[in-house]
């Protein structure tokens, strides 16, 4: 009954309106989506310009069209045509377009048309042509191959490395005159101008020869081998004898260590040997760093590296255990320090954004992992300074406690995970307090978590914890035990 009444009301309105319109020779048009009866094409785009900006990219720009149709739905976008093709290579809503992925040194011709809200397309603009920049077809030149000479017996590891004059990808094999494509092994760090690969399992009395070829980013490969050769001595090294007491250090027992890797541009890098700080340096603007340490004895050492970013945020320790041999310089390459990570809120109101930020290698891809009932993984790109910034939609999370971690990837290299940050999703926003960023385990407040703090823990170990004792009970379970030492070791800075 109600339906019938509605129809009568609609008819009562439309029939008189239709009669009125006919008396003035007008046509009523009922829109259906974008088809609103506009059959007039927009004006043709003008002033199309093309500029080749690289070997693979041409930038286009043009002046706006106008839509004279009725009802005027406006310009919805522009279609870009390349080399007279009937199918557009792209559409855009703006007045410019960057055509990428082009071949170098090649002539390209473009036209542009406009289309309106009713998909009426204008005529194509007058064409414009330009040629992408050419690259010299040269292969990389290799140099500074390492190692060379003869290692002492007992050497089991070394790092194969070389440099190229232009960015390249390098491979190696053990058979001479092998074409680049057929070489079986790719350097673990490659793609730029420094290339390295850790070799392990070396044996005494063996001469190792590797044939390296590199290919430029324009796919021009070396046509001759770059040879890196070294040997491991067959006779065991004897440590010279001597008495105990106050004798001098034995020269043969000293070795040098070189640690290379990437951190954050301009960051301070700290090297720890068996937990104790022994050297520091500053990373370059490309985030690369190198630390050299001399006078280290033979034996098994646990080295760790950590970095501090431009905001004073520390990374986690990046540890590696190596066995050093007398008379051998050991190169430890490929260290990729995990990104720093910090939050703007310790408790975030559900639905409000949570900002997660940090620093890593320039232009790296940062993967964020939010540990929750449902794990959330997302990515964000770091800028040219390595700074990255991610905003989490907390509607994706339930109320309660959650944690966040990050790891970075650049080319084929992937860092280990960053430190874990805890936050809560609740009903109010609480900023991260500066005090909470104080170092856990820094009992003597010297901004370091080191041997002194460990001594303070040892002092209190197996002693009753006085109420005025330092906060050595890190997990607040009322006792100082191995769990507290483990938390302490996680926060160690040396």
């Amino acid at each position: 009954m109600k339906k019938l009444a509605s129809l009568i009301i609609i008819a009562a309105v439309l029939i008189p309106l239709s009669l009125y319109a006919n008396s003035f020779n007008l046509t009523l048009t009922f829109c259906n989506g974008l088809d609103c009866g506009d059959v007039t094409a927009p004006s043709t785009p003008t002033n199309l310009e093309a500029e080749a900006v690289s070997t693979s990219q041409i930038n286009l720009s043009w002046d706006a069209s106008i839509d004279p149709g009725f009802p005027a739905l406006g310009i919805l976008g522009y279609k870009i045509y390349r080399n007279g093709g009937g199918t557009e290579v792209a559409t855009t809503t703006g007045l410019s377009y960057s055509d990428t992925g082009l071949a170098d040194g090649t002539l390209y011709t473009y036209t542009v048309s406009a289309f309106d809200g009713a998909y009426n397309e204008s005529a194509q603009s007058s064409s414009v042509s330009t040629t992408t920049l050419s690259v010299p077809s040269v292969a990389p030149n290799a140099s500074n191959g390492s190692p060379s000479g003869t290692f002492a017996a007992g050497t089991t590891e070394t790092t194969l490395s070389l440099a190229t004059d232009i960015a390249a990808t390098c491979k190696y094999g053990t058979v001479a005159d092998t074409a680049y494509a057929a070489l079986p092994n790719t350097f673990s760090t490659t793609g730029g101008t420094a290339h390295s690969k850790l070799l392990s399992g070396l044996a005494n009395g063996v001469t190792y020869t590797y044939y390296v070829r590199c290919q430029s980013t324009t796919n021009v490969a070396m046509t001759s081998d770059y040879t890196i050769s070294f040997a491991v001595a067959s006779a065991p090294v004897r440590v010279p004898g001597g008495g105990g007491g106050d004798k001098d250090e034995l020269p043969l027992s000293q070795v040098n260590v070189i640690v290379r890797g990437i951190a954050y541009p301009g960051s301070t890098i700290n090297l720890l040997k068996d937990g104790l700080a022994v050297a520091s340096t500053q990373a370059g603007p490309d985030a690369n760093f190198e630390i050299q340490l001399s006078g280290v004895g033979s034996g098994t050492f646990t080295f760790s590296v950590w970095a501090m970013d431009s905001q004073g945020v520390r990374s986690t320790l990046y540890p590696f255990t190596v066995t050093l041999t007398s008379g051998v310089t050991t190169v430890i390459g490929g260290v990729f320090i995990p990104p720093t990570v910090s939050l703007d809120l310790s408790t975030v109101k559900r639905g409000d954004p949570l900002r997660v930020l940090g620093q890593t290698v320039p232009n790296a891809t940062v993967s964020l992992i939010f540990h929750s009932d449902t794990e959330i993984i997302d990515q964000v790109a770091a800028d040219a300074r390595g700074v990255w910034n991610y905003v989490l939609d907390t509607l994706k999370l339930e109320y309660g406690d959650h944690t966040a971690q990050a790891r970075a990837a650049k080319a084929t290299d992937i860092s280990t995970l960053s430190k874990t940050l805890s936050f809560k999703v609740g009903t109010v926003n609480i900023p991260v307090k500066k005090e909470t960023s104080a170092l856990i385990g820094d009992y003597n407040a010297d901004k370091k978590v080191d041997l002194v703090d460990f001594s303070i823990m040892l002092y209190w170990y197996k002693r009753p914890l006085a109420t005025t004792a330092p906060p050595v009970d890190l997990n607040r379970d009322g006792k100082l035990d191995l769990v507290d030492f483990s938390i302490f070791a996680y926060h160690w800075t040396g």
Partner: protein, 306 residues
């Protein structure tokens, strides 16, 4: 049935993921009784771990003569290896930043067999390993017992590898150890604790045997053997509470490895004594006093003559 399959899997695949493996690494599985032999204890972990407490059940027929930390991945010892009343070898320590890898050495045991037969070493289930993470998650441990056959007539492999290298250079630190005697913590106020010297040294050969500390007002070069011997050395463990809480003494720390090689490090006084409290100062003051007294006496004598 499923549990049995799981057990078989774990036993057959000792390097199972998400677990640390503690292994015994004996020189030989059949040993003699005439001389000691070596057994290494190693760890494999596919996840970084930073705290390890090992409890090893030692069989009655074996005696652990020594437990060396030479080349150990453990950098800082919470409990240096010791044998408890239950004939268990106990040790614990931390690896700052964590250890991840294979065949990481924990200890090298020197063992003397006491009687023939089969002896079994077991990693006691009370052993603990913690991951290098914010919450110190426990890492499951997988281990296999070590069965050694003792044969009286068998000669053990000679372990005469001389360790002639000094312990690594190290850097003692003097700092306040808060002892809860004040409401303030870790301040520079002496009332809030005791000044102590903290130290740790590494010896990649035979391992560290112990430490000694000496305090002296005299500055002595560590290479001056004669003067070093005259110092009043005391066996010490880190942290060592200093006798001179005014910090006006030189502090000498001696690390000794198990072959007797010694490394000595010296710390300068943090609060050097003022010049008049040094020996030279006392002499100068005495000289000045004598000169003044002499001058006064001369003046008195002149006055009397007048």
């Amino acid at each position: 049935m499923h549990k049995l399959l799981l057990l078989i899997t774990i036993l057959l695949v000792p390097h199972a993921a998400f677990a640390a493996v503690i292994s015994f690494d004996p020189q030989e599985t059949t040993v003699g009784m005439s001389t000691p032999f070596l057994v290494g204890i190693t760890i494999d972990s596919d996840t970084p771990v930073n705290t390890i407490r090992g409890v090893i059940d030692v069989p009655e027929s074996m005696e652990v003569v020594d437990a060396s930390d030479g080349n150990s991945i453990i950098n800082l010892w919470i409990e240096r290896p010791y044998i408890n009343d239950a004939r268990q070898l106990v040790f614990s320590g931390i690896v700052p930043g964590g250890f991840e890898g294979y065949r990481g050495k924990l200890l090298t045991l020197t063992i003397q067999a006491k009687r023939e037969g089969v002896a079994r070493f077991i990693v006691n289930p009370s052993s603990r390993i913690y991951k290098n993470d914010e919450s110190a998650s426990p890492q499951p441990i997988i281990s296999r017992p070590l069965d050694l056959r003792v044969s009286a007539g068998r000669d053990n492999i000679s372990n005469e590898i001389p360790d002639t290298a000094l312990p690594e250079r190290f850097m003692p630190v003097v700092a306040l150890i808060p002892d809860g005697s004040s409401d303030t913590q870790a301040t520079s106020s002496i009332e809030s604790g005791h000044w102590a010297v903290s130290f740790v040294a590494q010896d990649k050969g035979s391992g560290i045997a112990g430490y000694a500390v000496a305090e002296s007002f005299s500055r002595i070069e560590p290479a001056d053997e004669r003067k070093v011997r005259r110092l009043s050395w005391r066996d010490a463990e880190s942290p060592y509470v200093l006798a001179d809480q005014r910090l006006s003494s030189y502090v000498y720390v001696k690390a000794i490895d198990k072959e007797g090689n010694v490394r000595i490090e010296r710390l300068d006084p943090q609060q050097p004594r003022p010049w008049y409290r040094t020996a030279l100062g006392y002499i100068l003051i005495a000289l000045i006093a004598l000169i003044i007294l002499n001058a006064l006496r001369t003046r008195i004598n002149i006055s009397r003559r007048k």
